[in-house]
Symmetry: C2
Subunit: 410 residues, 2 copies
């Protein structure tokens, strides 16, 4: 008897279930694997013995499995749990591996971001040191695209497609009025500006939106920003700005925190988002219409406008993880390597998860223009293939026919 | 020589260009009509002689005309201009009809909401009184669904589909965490709660979201709201609330205005949206995670998730307007009449525009439950058919291939 278990962790993406689909599909077809389990709410499901038998659920139900591929967020639920160091808390490790032993688990797949790769690293080291034959493999996902050692992360392309599509629709919404306006669009990304950079993919032959792009990688100067807007206003009516939630001034202080006047019950200032902050600032400085739009959680869960390239790659990393584990490798993360830029060709390869865990990949300098208010054509060449293709999800009663997640509603 | 002119006005919808498509397509095929003009930025384009020759642009370009059908917001641009009364400003009327005369315009089609119908009413009365043979027809559009004399308005179904789809995706985003949370989703609709009510269409066999729905038609009681949340929390972890931006307390005061602590340059309190207001309120009262999401302008311009039923109906009202005008009628708005509920069948009929202008249709009592925190099955039966079917727009470079609107960027 040789079983496997899979879990999901961190923030949602539109395609994290596509990776789960990949794992399930490959494990079902693999002669070395008997039963496929899913742990609920990440590694905490392993600790609490809270699992689903995915072989039973999906084994004779290929249609439901297909539905999983197009459903955003996590079928197995998530957690924000960082595994303690072994030296400080050996009991947690013993609990996990005794569970693995009880269920005859030989392979553990963890789909997640930075923290999940830290868990993969710690568990695989523990297994090696204690001669426990459980292969532990990480499967990357994050809309933030901030994992190192991989060309990009599954989840990023779909979030980028949502951001670009929304930006273009905001442009159509904005250009109709014959009056001066500034629209600030706040996009997720506290430390890395990848998703905000993707707003540039909204540009067409007729629309320059976003006219300015600000990433956390470049210090943000409020006065230069206002001057830049004023200069642009000499030649165009409507200005649309994409700004990362995490932009900071030269001293590293969040712009979002700089302006505030609302207090909570304890007297702490509430932080308005950077969009609102800049909206108020511009409204005070310019005599025109200013509005801000926060794309919010929709950008990470918009399965209805997922990138098909992203879905396919998410499936591939899931499948490759099963292949890698059954070949006897452990402590690896499945990485996407770009073999050719044009035509775009990728390969999935295992990399040492220690190189990934607890590192963060920022947008490199050559993807940002010299003024720090736009991206370069190098970035456009990098990002364009990732949003290609549309999801093939079905609709029912006018809304997406996603998979039933009643088990998460306990 | 007998020409026609068409213009668009008010706020954007995903299908207002589908109505423009309907007008153009029908006018091209009509023996009575020679050239089709479009006035830019609504009636102000007529006043400023700022027009496009749509026959030249689309006459030999059926592919571009098809593209128009799936492009959100206004190809011809919009305005927020209310025509003055004739008694106060006859010159404006003379200017409009002298322009019509100069261009041999026999038919004027105005696509818009309440204010546009007011313009249609005034111009058609003026024409009749001055024996000017120009037929003036209104074509309804608004995401607010607040026009009387029509079962619903084109634009509502697509916005409703966007709201329902987003709500379901927010539910998937929310249910993954094994912790108590309340999510407030703020939806457009200052006086009429139709669009917020449509959030109920997000419900599935596994998702109850939104658990509570608050419309401006029912006075909002903050204390009852908090009690309602606390009661729900006894049985479920994640609560999702849909709330109209325009909810008011029993004295008619906007809830959005009640809590505030940010001031503009002139010392005026800035009004936070109702979502943020309720978020702060709940965060102070409950010990759990609270967040708010404002759907913002995306709900009115999301062409990528438009309802195909809505698109088809928008085309039909445009075509029917041409038919009605060329039959010699004037001062009419094209209304949608529901002939059968199930299967859903509608007919397009002209109604007297005076019955429509300056009236507002609120959500009727039998569509709202007794507690004022949900909709009824009557409403569900009414709204369900309107979001059926998906748009058929093409994508290019990973984003929607909308029509070029460079002419609006002057």
């Amino acid at each position: 008897m040789s079983n496997c278990i899979v879990a999901q962790s961190g923030g949602p993406t539109a395609v994290i279930n596509a990776s789960l689909y990949g794992v399930i599909e490959a494990a079902f077809n693999h002669p070395k694997i008997d039963t496929v389990y899913g742990a609920l709410n990440g590694i905490t499901g392993v600790l609490d013995d809270n699992t689903l038998n995915l072989s039973e659920i999906f084994g004779h139900n290929h249609e439901t499995l297909e539905q999983l591929k197009y459903t955003p967020a996590m079928y197995l639920g998530s957690c924000r749990y960082k595994l303690p160091d072994y030296s400080k808390d050996p009991a947690t490790y013993e609990k996990i591996f005794s569970f693995f032993n009880k269920k005859s688990i030989d392979y553990f797949f963890y789909i997640g971001g930075n923290d999940s790769m830290d868990t993969v690293s710690k568990l695989s080291k523990y297994a090696k040191e204690h001669q426990l034959d459980v292969k532990i493999i990480g499967i990357p996902k994050t809309i933030d695209n901030d994992l190192v050692e991989t060309d990009h992360t599954p989840g990023y392309g779909s979030a980028a497609k949502y951001v670009a599509t929304s930006l273009l629709e905001i442009a159509h919404d904005t250009y109709i009025y014959n009056l001066e306006s500034v629209t600030i669009v706040e996009i997720m990304g506290r430390n890395a500006g990848w998703l905000t950079a993707a707003a540039a993919l909204a540009r067409t032959t007729y629309s320059t939106a976003p006219d300015l792009i600000y990433l956390p990688e470049t210090p943000f100067d409020v006065y230069l920003f206002i001057e830049r807007i004023k200069t642009l206003q000499k030649n165009q009516k409507n200005i649309i700005v994409a700004v990362s939630e995490g932009i900071k001034d030269k001293d590293g202080k969040y712009i979002a925190a700089a302006v505030s006047g609302s207090y909570d019950a304890f007297g702490h200032a509430r932080l308005s988002g950077v969009g609102k902050t800049l909206e108020y600032l511009l409204a005070d400085q310019l005599g025109c219409k200013v509005r801000s739009i926060e794309l919010n959680v929709l950008q990470r869960a918009a399965g209805h406008v997922a990138s098909y390239t992203d879905i396919q790659e998410a499936v591939s990393v899931g499948k490759a993880a099963v292949e890698t584990a059954t070949q006897g490798l452990t402590g690896k993360m499945m990485a996407i390597k770009r073999l050719y830029a044009d035509p775009y060709v990728v390969d999935i390869q295992p990399v040492n998860v220690d190189l990934v865990a607890n590192h963060e990949k920022e947008v490199p300098k050559h993807y940002i223009n010299d003024d720090g208010d736009d991206v370069t054509t190098d970035f456009m060449d990098y990002a364009k293939p990732l949003i290609e293709g549309e999801t093939r999800l079905n609709y029912k009663n006018g809304i997406p026919d996603f998979i039933n997640i009643l088990h998460l509603k306990r």
